[in-house]
């Protein structure tokens, strides 16, 4: 009801008052936003501090040896995190190895080749994958993926690529490779969605210029579209990597949870996040708890290092792509 009076023509004084009010609103708004912006880094700093405090006992006991030893014995209170770090890095790497070509392929298809009517529905369906809770992925992995891998895919790999050390040894089902595959499925929607947005942002003049020079559509994508979008695509991959490194539930349900470093991808492994999730609730000894906090601290460090490395990569790639577009 009051809406009509307020949208009516205001007098000059009313306008000034309105601006005054609006200014006050601006100040409050700015204050709130600043508070929000400060709150997040503070929370992060607090979290890191807490992790460090929690892991002090283990850091004092094991020091850097924690990073290089493999025993994990809660009874003897002897802890080493090397297999966990190895498992986290390898499973995430495997996940990306599978997910990146697939999701970029889908993104390119959707922006460059797919019929208009198909673009939105497919993008929407893939986006839906991101909304599935990870425990559901884990259950699906146990009931559907693992039996399929054990009876069909793994024996096939062993028969064809068995000369490689990665595909040797007994096949159980739960394994590093199974975890990598589930991670690939889980990070795909992220890489695909962001990759698609990035490709959509490539100006049409890029494509038209390439086509006008006589490039086929394939050549236009490779020479004009992808180089332009390079830094954005790397960003999409990093988003996926961040998710893969921290994924817990689905991985622990499929990886076999064995503190061991094996060359074979069919062998069970373990990740940092999985170990914390598995043991934290029942850890009784102080040193055991502290070792788990240490693992959490390391996971945080690994994430920071990987992300920093990726930023560096983006930065270099972005420089490269600017030069590339200049050369074009």
């Amino acid at each position: 009801m009051t809406v009509t009076t307020e949208t009516g023509l205001p007098g000059r004084a009313a306008l000034a008052a309105f601006l005054q009010r609006a200014n006050q609103g601006d100040r409050v708004f700015k204050g709130l936003l600043t508070l929000a912006a400060v709150a997040v880094p503070t929370l992060l700093a607090f979290l890191v501090f807490e992790l460090w405090v929690g892991s002090r006992l283990a850091i004092g006991q094991f020091g850097f040896g924690f990073l290089t030893t493999s025993t994990w014995d809660p009874v003897a209170e002897e802890f080493g995190a090397l297999p966990l770090i190895f498992g986290t890095l390898i499973s995430s790497f495997l996940g990306l190895l599978i997910a990146v070509p697939l999701s970029l392929g889908v993104a390119i298809y959707l922006t460059e080749f797919a019929p208009k009517a198909l673009r939105q529905p497919i993008a929407f369906l893939i986006g839906l994958l991101a909304a599935i809770p990870s425990v559901v992925y884990g259950l699906w992995g146990i009931f559907v993926l693992i039996p399929l891998l054990r009876t069909t895919a793994f024996p096939f790999l062993q028969d064809t690529l068995g000369f490689l050390p990665f595909f040797q040894g007994p096949i159980y089902g739960p394994s590093m490779l199974a975890a990598g595959i589930i991670l690939a499925i889980m990070v795909m929607p992220y890489i695909m969605s962001v990759g698609r947005e990035v490709l959509l942002a490539v100006p049409n003049t890029q494509r038209e210029a390439a086509l006008a020079l006589g490039a086929t559509r394939w050549e236009a994508v490779i020479t004009a579209v992808l180089p332009y979008a390079r830094s954005g695509i790397v960003g999409a991959v990093i988003l996926g990597l961040g998710r893969a490194l921290g994924e817990t539930m689905a991985v622990t349900m499929l990886i076999g949870n064995r503190h061991e470093i094996a060359a074979s991808l069919f062998a069970p492994g373990y990740t940092m996040a999985a170990a914390i999730a598995n043991e934290f609730s029942e850890a009784v000894g102080d040193l055991h708890l502290s070792a788990l906090a240490y693992v959490a601290f390391l996971l945080f460090l690994v994430t920071v290092i990987v992300n920093a490395g990726a930023r560096l990569l983006i930065w270099r790639v972005a420089r490269g792509s600017a030069a590339g577009s200049k050369a074009l």
Partner: protein, 359 residues
């Protein structure tokens, strides 16, 4: 329109606040119905007895109006929160160690509530409905990685009428820290000196061999899907999922099938002194019918409590759950009830603790 949106937002905020506000009085009004001092009790700990605890607390609230909140965060968390004094009582599947008891200046009492059993489930389709038989040495050697074939002569001797396949034994264990693991390795530590020396007992251990499955369901799926696999799960879980499980030769040399009755028999087979603190392991128990991989699960309460109202409140509940009606509820959910002599002993001891708490 633009000025309507903030108004709408404000309206939503006010509405939410109003709902929040109206939420407040409802617990109070519930309390009015059954007048009671104090708000109720909070506890935290073991996940294994969570279904029966939930059922007990629910029935107890209906009967007496005393509400008990229980968080099944795991035994380790239960002991920790009890030690820090953030809960009124704790719950655990493995008893507190002497150091942990020293950390609370000895002010803790273990009250057994029900009995659980751990069974060995396996996947050997060629066996059909025949039950496998194990003895302690065979189980220990399988989990030590020393007995690796199903047709090993030692297993064949234990199962003379069964044709065992020439397959590798694939060992599965729990990956998450768990009271089930504690009971199982407690048994192995008792029956095998090598296990005791090399691995020991805790809620999670450094397994010599095998794959880790998360939770009972993780172990079960791994066993179900892999021919030749063996794993351990809680009896209740095996019964409700109709898993095959082996009989185990007990200390008296008899092959015993795991049932509620044989788990109760394991507790009946131990002699408790009148001043016991109930921190007793009943694995590998004496008694002809005792199933050897059985264990109590405990509530942790303070022996002496400055808050006498709280002490009385917990005591009241403990007495209530030990009544035949409470123990029947346990049996309905496939938890093995405590044997009568132990119930009587617990009742006496709880009474003593309460007297000491409220002079």
């Amino acid at each position: 329109m633009p000025s309507l949106t903030p108004r709408l937002a404000l309206g939503i905020v006010l509405f939410t606040l109003a709902c929040g506000g109206s939420d407040r009085p409802s617990p109070g009004s519930g309390g009015d119905r059954a007048p009671r001092r104090g708000a109720g009790l909070t506890g935290a700990g073991a996940t294994f007895p969570n279904p029966i605890y939930t059922k007990w607390f629910d029935a107890y609230a209906k009967e007496t109006g005393v509400r008990i909140n229980y968080q099944s965060i795991g035994s380790g968390g239960g002991i920790r929160q009890f030690t820090e004094g953030t809960v009124d009582f704790g719950a655990t599947d493995g008893p507190m160690t002497d150091e942990q008891i020293a950390a609370v200046q000895g002010n803790v009492m273990h009250i057994p509530t029900v009995i659980g059993a751990v069974v060995l489930t396996y996947n050997l389709p060629s066996l059909g409905a025949t039950k496998l038989r194990f003895d302690s040495a065979a189980i220990a050697d399988i989990y030590l990685g020393r007995l690796t074939k199903w047709n090993d002569p030692r297993l064949a001797r234990l199962n003379p009428r069964v044709k065992l396949p020439d397959r590798d034994i694939i060992v599965v264990h729990r990956s998450d820290g768990s009271g089930t693991t504690y009971v199982f390795v407690d048994y192995l530590s008792k029956v095998s000196t090598e296990w005791g020396k090399k691995v020991g007992k805790a809620t999670s251990v450094n397994w010599p061999v095998g794959l880790g499955g998360k939770g009972n369901e993780g172990v079960t799926q791994q066993v179900k899907q892999t021919e030749g696999a063996i794993g351990y799960v809680e009896l209740i879980y095996a019964i409700s999922n109709q898993l095959p499980y082996a009989t185990v030769k007990n200390a008296a040399g008899k092959d015993v099938d795991a049932t509620l009755a044989t788990a109760t028999a394991a507790a009946a087979g131990i002699d408790l002194p009148p001043d016991t603190d109930f921190r007793v392991s009943i694995t590998d128990a004496q008694g002809a019918d005792a199933y050897p991989i059985s264990s109590f699960t405990w509530l942790l309460i303070r022996k002496e409590d400055p808050d006498s109202a709280r002490a009385r409140s917990i005591r009241d509940f403990a007495v209530w759950m030990l009544q035949p009606a409470g123990q029947r509820m346990a049996a309905d959910l496939h938890y093995a009830p405590l044997p009568v002599p132990i119930i009587e002993l617990v009742q006496r001891r709880v009474g003593l603790a309460a007297d000491a708490a409220s002079p």
